[in-house]
């Protein structure tokens, strides 16, 4: 039985996972408090000979306590989340000079446009590969997400990346990979009968290997 987050191999994933575990322990404490409290009350205050209920309509002091404490916890959590979120998703905070790709989802495949050796999209040496996303290690990349037909969602579990691709929109996201290796892209938004098999591969190369791979693809496609 495997009930854990998959290993994380991205910079963003570190903070996402941290936040996940912070919330896990916060909610775990609340869980123990509430479920333990219920269990305790159920045992202690069960009906039995000579036992009567204590007549009360409540306590304003307690109401204030259990309003203010959660409110403070949530405010802190919200503020911290907002900062992390802005760093990940707000285009103003994207790394400069990141390598850009175009990824277009369509039923039921991902088409990736590579910038080519000039590292620029929209130039003559761009090339398209279906269902294979190659990227260099330890270098931020920007993926411009588009969709041809319906909404898809670009999901790389091990890199903690997820973003919907919406027809009529170009949505940029950035991420990196901190290790070389092979990962998976899955579609996370129901997109039709082939939704479950709309998978693609991610290959993270050493920087030099990535350049070599791009060069080999460019020549292969030119022929």
């Amino acid at each position: 039985m495997d009930w854990a987050l998959p290993p994380n191999y991205s910079t963003q994933g570190i903070v996402i996972d941290q936040l996940f575990w912070i919330i896990f322990w916060l909610t775990f404490a609340a869980f123990v408090l509430v479920e333990g409290g219920i269990l305790w009350f159920v045992l202690k205050y069960r009906n039995r000979e000579g036992h009567t209920a204590h007549y009360t309509h409540g306590s304003n002091k307690l109401e204030v306590i259990w309003t203010v404490i959660p409110a403070i916890v949530f405010a802190v959590l919200g503020a911290y989340s907002a900062g992390v979120w802005a760093n990940i998703k707000n285009p103003d905070n994207f790394p400069e000079d990141a390598l850009e790709f175009l990824v277009v989802g369509k039923q039921f495949e991902w088409n990736i446009t590579y910038p080519g050796m000039d590292r620029q999209l929209g130039t003559a040496d761009d090339f398209i590969v279906r269902n294979q996303f190659h990227m260099p290690v330890n270098e931020p990349v920007i993926v411009n997400l588009e969709a041809e037909d319906v909404i898809h969602s670009f999901f790389i579990p091990e890199l903690r990346v997820k973003q919907d691709a919406v027809p009529g929109m170009t949505i940029p996201i950035w991420f990196d990979a901190t290790t070389t290796g092979d990962f998976e892209i899955a579609c996370a938004e129901l997109c039709g009968l082939g939704h479950y098999r709309m998978a693609a591969s991610v290959t993270v190369h050493e920087s030099a290997d990535f350049d070599a791979w791009q060069a080999s693809q460019a020549t292969a496609q030119a022929q």
Partner: protein
């Protein structure tokens, strides 16, 4: 003034009673109690149907490589040579969600209990608009028929998810589903109409027809919850109906509200859907919270802890419920700056939910707890709703949502809230108000077995979903075995499926108890639970018109174990607390 009118109408109804034909009395009835029971039978049927669809999904998830037993009885367009087809699986996903939300849980909470309880707990003869009330049931019937029939038309039932995200839902060429989707949309417009009729009626009745002495802050919490829910319904349902009609136009007459080729915007659908959808979440939970407050109070023999805080929490949830819809759309491509706003509003809506949970615990604290079946389910509600509420904090935090959005973690969350929450409270409500509705008690022993088996198997089905969600299993996938990162979850998926079958089986135990008790159950007295609210101060079941004489209310709704009352541990709302003998109150 309003009360006088109500009394006059009531008398008119009473006089009419003997002239009613069978058709008027039981089929096209304007009696709120009969309409409530009509809703109850209909929604229980759809609960069984929705559950059956889930069983087929669970089979497919656990054993995608094996033909489904008995698959031969399905047409080739659904199950081909024993295997569920992916397009049929998508219909199962879509229709399970749609049926459970729109034809089972929502009309059971509101159609059944707002109808049944508002006039009885407020001490009036019937609804403000009895005929509108009848229509609200009868426009839902064709919606139900359309929904079921859509499985058997060319292309099958709708398959774009219950959230119907455009363009998938708007372009039949991409799904193969044309007519089925359109039938779903017509059904949803009818359901919207039903809900709007109902809401108008409930709001008017609560405002105008309370018994003498029934001030706002003497209303039972159930009524507060149903009243606020009706306001939510009235404001939210028209948005869904309008969006549904726009989507229908995109499909049939070539408009482009949601299609980018014609200048439309797919995200507009999501904004409209969730502007309805999030208040809808609270439509599905507020009444359940009301039932729970009341049943916990009866079972604990104590007043509701923090009654006014509970009322303000309901109002707070309702208000905040309208400004959190964007939290369903963090990863949708909506401007990421909006994420901040919706994170903050979403985390703040957790505050009134926390207040309610603590007050429920406060109600049990130092009580004298009687564990009858309704009480068990009410305690179960608090325990399960707490888990659903806490798991919601993960997705409210936008960065964490990046990972868990559209995974089984979300599926776990929604089921802890809708099943562990709403449905547990509904079971509590059914057992609790059954004697009033049918004049007989449900069997306690079977009820307790039903509770414990439901509790155990519910958790075995849905708790592990958090786990497979963490692993990264996407929602709504027909087969997870093709993914490297999902190789380790096969055993968990099988466990959840076996538990789901067992959970569904407990439903039959409940159904047996329900139908058997209608005919053979122990005869119920007027007030079998020694409860204080007005519906228990009239015979079980109440006659047409509810009261021979309109009750007068002297105090708040949940007066248990009052030290000034020595001969019993409760004081009905229509009993005067200052009189030595309760009998003198009338």
């Amino acid at each position: 003034m309003a009360t006088i009118v109500a009394e006059a109408t009531g008398q008119a109804i009473l006089q009419e009673e003997h002239e009613q034909s069978f058709l008027r009395k039981y089929i096209f009835s304007t009696d709120h109690k009969v309409i409530a029971i009509q809703f109850l039978f209909t929604t229980l049927f759809f609960l069984a149907v929705g559950g059956f669809l889930a069983m087929m999904m669970r089979y497919q998830i656990a054993w995608p490589d094996q033909p489904i037993p008995g698959g031969g009885i399905f047409p080739e367009s659904m199950v081909a040579s024993g295997y569920i087809l992916p397009e049929f699986y998508n219909s199962l996903v879509t229709m399970h969600g749609s049926i459970m939300v729109f034809l089972a849980i929502m009309p059971m909470l509101v159609g059944v209990y707002a109808n049944y309880l508002i006039p009885l707990q407020l001490g009036t003869h019937d609804m403000a608009f009895p005929r509108l009330n009848m229509y609200s049931f009868w426009v839902m019937v064709p919606a139900g028929i359309l929904t079921l029939a859509s499985f058997f038309v060319v292309g099958g039932a709708a398959g774009a998810g219950w959230t119907l995200y455009a363009p998938l839902s708007a372009r039949p060429d991409l799904t193969g589903v044309a007519l089925g989707q359109q039938m779903w949309l017509v059904a949803i417009v009818l359901i919207g109409l039903s809900s709007i009729f109902g809401s108008l009626n409930y709001i008017t009745t609560v405002i105008n027809m309370r018994a003498p002495g029934m001030t706002w802050f003497r209303m039972p919490l159930t009524i507060w919850a149903l009243f606020i829910t009706a306001i939510l319904g009235l404001l939210a349902m028209p948005v869904l109906s309008a969006a549904g009609i726009m989507l229908l136009f995109d499909q049939t007459i070539g408009t482009s509200f949601f299609l980018p080729e014609g200048g439309g915007q797919p995200l507009l659908w999501q904004h409209l859907f969730w502007f309805f959808g999030h208040p809808e979440v609270y439509i599905l939970i507020l009444p359940a919270m009301g039932f729970t407050s009341e049943i916990l109070s009866v079972g604990s023999r104590k007043p509701v802890f923090g009654y006014k805080a509970m009322v303000w929490a309901i109002i707070g949830i309702a208000f905040l419920g309208f400004i959190v819809w964007g939290h369903h759309m963090f990863q949708s491509g909506m401007n990421p700056t909006l994420g901040l706003t919706f994170t903050v509003s979403t985390l703040f809506i957790a505050v009134p939910s926390a207040i309610k949970t603590f007050n429920w615990m406060g109600t049990m604290w130092r009580g004298n707890l009687h564990f009858h079946t309704p009480m068990l389910f009410a305690i179960g509600f608090v325990a399960m709703f707490a888990i659903g509420g806490l798991s919601g904090i993960f997705m409210a935090s936008t960065p964490v949502d990046i990972y868990i959005h559209d995974t089984y973690f979300i599926v776990a969350h929604i089921h802890y809230v809708l099943f562990g929450g709403s449905l547990f409270a509904l079971f509590a409500a059914i057992y609790f108000w059954f004697p009033k509705m049918f004049g007989r008690m449900m069997n306690e022993k079977l009820g307790k077995i039903h509770f414990w088996t439901t509790m155990i198997f519910f958790n075995l089905v849905f708790f592990p979903m958090h786990g497979v969600g963490m692993v990264g299993m996407m929602r709504r996938i027909y087969d997870s075995t093709g993914y490297a990162h999902l190789q380790g979850i096969g055993g968990t998926n099988e466990l959840m499926t076996w538990s789901a079958f067992a959970l569904y089986a407990t439903g039959f135990l409940f159904a047996f108890n329900f139908f058997w008790s209608i005919f053979k159950g122990k005869k119920a007295e007027a007030n079998p639970w020694n409860a204080t609210t007005l519906e228990w101060q009239t015979p079980s079941p109440p006659k047409h018109g509810n009261w021979a004489e309109v009750p007068v209310v002297y105090h708040g709704p949940h007066e248990y174990s009052h030290p000034g009352v020595t001969d019993k541990d409760w004081l009905a709302q229509n009993e005067r607390p200052d009189l030595p003998s309760p009998a003198g109150g009338h």
